[in-house]
């Protein structure tokens, strides 16, 4: 049985590392993408189980990516955890995401949440 796959879309390398470590601690395979446009291109072919999404990204913003994920049939069912420092953005995107985490996102918190959102724990 292969590990669940988590994609971290975050342009700050430190935060990206923390998110990755948290996902790995919850037994995820991980990948980091630090650019919005690149993330969109990557999602055209790949289908992760969970995405940790920052909203302030270079080239393409996080909410555009979120809309793409939610409108694309093939990407349906992907768990999206939004990590943002902007409480207003967090409020406005609350209904489109599985979870909104207000930065600072705690390592322990994300690790436990990811473990709960992992596909096999659902099945």
């Amino acid at each position: 049985m292969s590990k669940p796959y988590g994609l971290v879309i975050e342009d700050n390398p430190d935060l990206a590392t923390i998110f990755c470590e948290a996902l790995q601690a919850a037994e995820f395979e991980t990948r980091i993408i630090d650019d919005g446009q690149e993330a969109l291109e990557y999602l055209a072919t790949a289908r992760p189980d969970l995405i940790v999404l920052d909203l302030h990204l270079p080239h393409t913003s996080g909410d555009t990516i979120l809309r793409e994920i939610r409108s694309n049939e093939r990407l349906a069912g992907i768990r999206v955890v939004i990590a943002t420092a902007d409480p207003q953005m967090a409020e406005s995107l609350d209904k489109d995401s599985d979870l909104v985490l207000l930065k600072p996102v705690s390592f322990n918190q994300l690790r436990d949440l990811a473990a709960r959102l992992a596909p096999r724990s659902k099945e």
């Binding site: 700050n12 430190d14 935060l15 590392t17 923390i18 470590e21 601690a25 420092a85 902007d86 409480p87 207003q88 409020e91 930065k103 600072p104 996102v105 705690s106 390592f107 322990n108 690790r111």
Partner: protein
């Protein structure tokens, strides 16, 4: 009234001219009326007695006067007040000259009639024009006297005319100067009013500008705080995250002393993060951007959440944290649970921070329940057995950024923005916060909030 005014008034840029022309019109109408009445009376006499020479002369005089008045009235209205006035004086002089037997006009009963054109001249033309009219009357009676055998020009009468002209001149002049004085005062008043109005307008404008600048500064401040808070959060997040990872053993096992040091790092980072969150909240409240997300929630869940979050902190100081929910509180309340939690965490945190011995009690209840008050309320009270808050500080502790050099508040410095945010959030929710405290015995904060009927709000 407007018709009368239209007949009497002649629009003129010179107020003196307008005044004289109005006066002339009044006199003309008077003379015309007298002429008409005279005509009627003379006609009746002529019909009854037959027209002798005196009556036909008088009739002619009356018709002449009536036509003259109408002509002068037309000139006064359409062309020139001065010409009309001059003609009026001439008309009066002529009419009076012809109105009686020459003898009577020269030194008899009609001689006094000439005082009328003299007086009119000073009132209608210039004040000194009375002398001209007196001269004219003098010439007229002199000429008239020469036509009567045995008569010479009556010098005393002519002298009398000039004496009367002098009196007219003086009276008219003093009248005019009084009018001029009134006008000057009015002009000065107008100027003063205008000046004051302008000053007021300028002051108002400056005030509006200053206000706008203040608002702009406030907006800038809010935006600045929000931006700085935002920028502070990212590195703080990284510090927090890496510390947690180290503590969680992601990078290998830690020695006890390293663990303790890391614990201090995370504690301090947490404090800093709280402060940044408070700053951001404050900026949002000030900018009016903080909106409440009301929904039904369980008060039991909220209290349990607070207890589990802060129990560790309380126990680490050897304090008891007790929670209680009054039985008459509904199982479900309506409000912004996240913000209510923020209020309670802030209050309980403070209570623990300032209490060394004893306990911290959290209680949810319905104040005045059953006491017949109209308003349905519920309340959160947080009591401690700390040092208490001096009376002078009780309102001040709700101010944001209390002065650092104030020795009375120095010991409470750690409170930071917490209480001011608690107060603002409470008010945003339509509630109020009260503080009762006894020095040396403890403090109780009570947040009273409106109790919304769940059925009502969800309907």
């Amino acid at each position: 009234m407007t018709i009368l005014n239209r007949i009497l008034n002649v629009p003129s840029s010179d107020p003196d001219d307008a005044r004289r022309r109005r006066l002339l019109n009044i006199l003309l109408i008077g003379v015309a009326l007298i002429s008409v009445l005279g005509l009627i009376a003379l006609s009746l006499v002529a019909l009854i007695q037959g027209a002798d020479q005196t009556i036909s002369m008088a009739l002619r005089g009356a018709i002449f006067a009536l036509l003259g008045t109408l002509g002068i009235f037309a000139i006064n209205h359409t062309w020139s007040g001065q010409v009309a006035s001059l003609l009026f004086v001439l008309l009066l002089t002529t009419v009076f000259t012809l109105s009686d037997e020459p003898r009577q006009v020269v030194d008899g009963r009609s001689v006094f009639l000439f005082t009328i054109p003299i007086l009119m001249a000073s009132v209608l033309l210039r004040s000194w024009a009375s002398f001209l009219a007196a001269g004219l009357a003098g010439i007229v009676i002199s000429l008239l006297a020469l036509t009567i055998p045995g008569y010479i020009p009556p010098l005393p009468t002519i002298f009398g005319f000039f004496a009367f002209a002098l009196v007219s001149w003086l009276s008219a002049r003093s009248l005019e100067s009084a009018l001029e004085e009134t006008r000057r005062i009015n002009r000065e008043l107008d100027q003063r009013v205008e000046l004051r109005t302008r000053e007021l307008r300028d002051a108002n404008q400056q005030l509006a500008q200053a206000n706008e600048r203040l608002r702009e500064l406030d907006r800038l401040k809010s935006r600045f705080i929000s931006m700085v808070s935002h920028e502070l959060r990212t590195p703080l997040s990284a510090i927090q995250g890496f510390s947690e990872m180290l503590l969680a053993g992601v990078y290998g096992p830690l020695a006890e002393r390293q663990r303790t040091a890391l614990g201090r790092i995370t504690d301090n980072t947490q404090q800093l993060l709280h402060l940044v969150s408070d700053l951001l909240d404050r900026a949002r409240i000030e900018a009016g951007q903080l909106t409440l997300h009301n929904a039904p929630f369980s008060p039991a869940g909220l209290v349990e959440d607070i207890r589990s979050t802060l129990d560790v902190l309380a126990r680490s100081k050897g304090l008891m944290l007790t929670t209680e929910i009054a039985p008459d509180l509904p199982d479900e309340l309506y409000g912004d649970e996240g913000r209510l939690r923020q209020i309670m965490v802030n209050l309980v945190n403070n209570a623990i921070k300032f209490t060394e011995v004893g306990d911290v009690r959290v209680r949810l209840y319905r104040p005045n329940h059953g006491a017949g008050t109209d308003e349905a309320l519920w309340a959160i009270s947080v009591s401690d057995t700390g040092p208490g808050i001096a009376e002078g500080d009780r309102t001040r502790i709700f101010d944001p950024f209390r002065r650092v050099d104030d020795s009375a508040t120095r010991e409470h410095l750690g409170v930071g923005l917490g209480l001011s945010i608690v107060k603002e959030l409470t008010e945003l929710m339509g509630g109020e916060i009260q503080l009762t405290s006894m020095l040396g015995e403890g403090s109780t904060f009570v947040v009273t909030l409106p109790l919304h009927d769940i059925e009502e709000v969800s309907a």
